[in-house]
Amino acid sequence: MHPDTEVDVAGLVLRSPLMVASGVLGSSPSLIRIIATNPDVGAVVTKTVTYRPRTGYENPTLVDLGYGFLNAMGLPNPGYSEYRFELGSIKKSLEIPLIVSIGPSDEGEAEEMVEELDSVADGFEVNLSCPHVENLGMEVGSDASKASGIVKAVRGSTGKPVLVKISPNVTDFVANARSAVEAGADAITAINTVRGMAIDVNAMRPVLSNVYGGLSGKAIHPVAVRIVFELYEKIKAPIVGCGGVYDWRDAVELILAGATAVQIGSAIAHSQTGLKVFNEIGEGVRRYLALKGFSSVKQIIGLAHS
């Protein structure tokens, strides 16, 4: 028995429910091209690009906690215009959807960026949830009317699927997801990183040059499961789960909670096998489906609710 792993996220047909999370592995198109040849990768989300190029923060920008990472990269990226050019050079060779992650700081930027990037993107993920960059990400995401305006601008500038990535660092994430959907988002990606920081006891100083950063990896998996589970009951849009997926059980857990697809970030670096982690997880999910007698991964989406 070969269970079917195809899923449909707001019109994007993915051969596998596993996607590469934004920002992990950076913005290099050649890496995207290579990753996209992995049969267990269903889609790639790019590094978040902004209107202008950003060099990001000074090092240190990442702390390895073993059970997760803390990062405050500061959204380094070449800017949307140069990035469009780079993505253009590989777009044709990709067999899977390319989702471009954007971090506009206002509606004007959103429109310009999306119009320009539309030719290389199969969909967009709007990052309103980066916890460590001022005037972008969470700062924008927690200003409800601004966030909503940006999503509307994106929606108005493309006919392609629009995902909005939300933050766990708010009292009422359901409200944020709802207003994104009302503003035109086709799907919600949950979650971005959790606010955190680390202090080195020898240096007696915060490790990250930005002091605060975002926690990812195993540590946040239960937080992601919880948010996906609750969103599944409270919003109508499909959900893409993200956070601490290290093995097939973690992926299945998010799907049972209600995720249509699952993004993987930190595990790529924490796994001994690097990108093969996609194959291990893909194989695990197929074995699980077969063992439980399901013919398609679609059958288990949200099953933990019944």
């Binding site: 920002g23 992990v24 592995l25 950076g26 913005s27 290099s28 198109p29 050649s30 890496l31 091209r33 290579i34 990753i35 590094k47 190029p53 950003r54 060099t55 990001g56 000074e58 090092n59 240190p60 920008t61 990442l62 702390v63 390895d64 073993g66 990472f69 990062n71 990269m73 380094p76 990226n77 070449p78 800017g79 140069e82 780079e86 680390a198 080195d200 006891v201 020898n202 240096a203 100083r205 915060p206 490790v207 040059s209 930190s266 790529i268 670096a269 690097g274």
Partner: protein, 269 residues
Amino acid sequence: MSASHYYLEATVASNISETSRVNTLVLRLREELKIVPGQFLMVWRPGDGEIPITPSLTMGETLCLTIEKVGFTSSRLASLKPGEKVFLRGPYGNGFNLSLPGRYLLIGGGTGAASLTPAYLSLVKKGVETLFLVGARNRESLVYVRRLRELGAGFQVATDDGSEGFKGTLPEFFAEVSSRDRFENVLTIGPERMMVKIAEKCVEQGVSCQVSLVRIVKCGLGVCGSCVLDPLGLRVCVDGPVFHGEKILGSDFGRFMRDEAGRRVEVVQ
């Protein structure tokens, strides 16, 4: 990790001026750090930043870092005084493969002479026949030769202006040496354009060549993608920094790198 939490603390025992632009920090650690020659460390001073450095000596609890002042962080680190602290994480990366059969020719340009020293000492200790070529623009720019002499290393010098040793560049010296004698293995660290020429020559001659690349390293863990070598998609921090020349010739090696924003820019040296 468990012993050190995030970073290992090291104390500057002395700071040796190599040239006007290059210093060697002699560091004392509280415990021995096991490093394969060619692996690198991330070296942090709170407030001053953190950069990747390939140690130029590791001996018990002593560790040497030879640092060229190219910008803010490297200049701050290279100017530390005895008693000051630096914080280390790593080792990271793959290091050199020193178990390939045959004799070894090591070619170090600039601080590369220092960074190759642990590999040199390791080969000599294993009884492998090894010749070490070090080079610089002129006699004043030669790095680490005093230390190499102290260590009793056998090495030969090239300077562009002939102020010491062979007159010419390291690729030229390499051509000269290999016209007389064939080494089965070449290891090289230095300016990238120099390494490309050496790697090309090795491929021509069917000689195994390992080069150590420099890219912008942020995480050092293979997560952030800042150090990617295109179009191969190799991450210098985990897939490298050491690569076999024939695997990366024809790529951006020697031609393009990415700056801190991920923009593709020309390699200048």
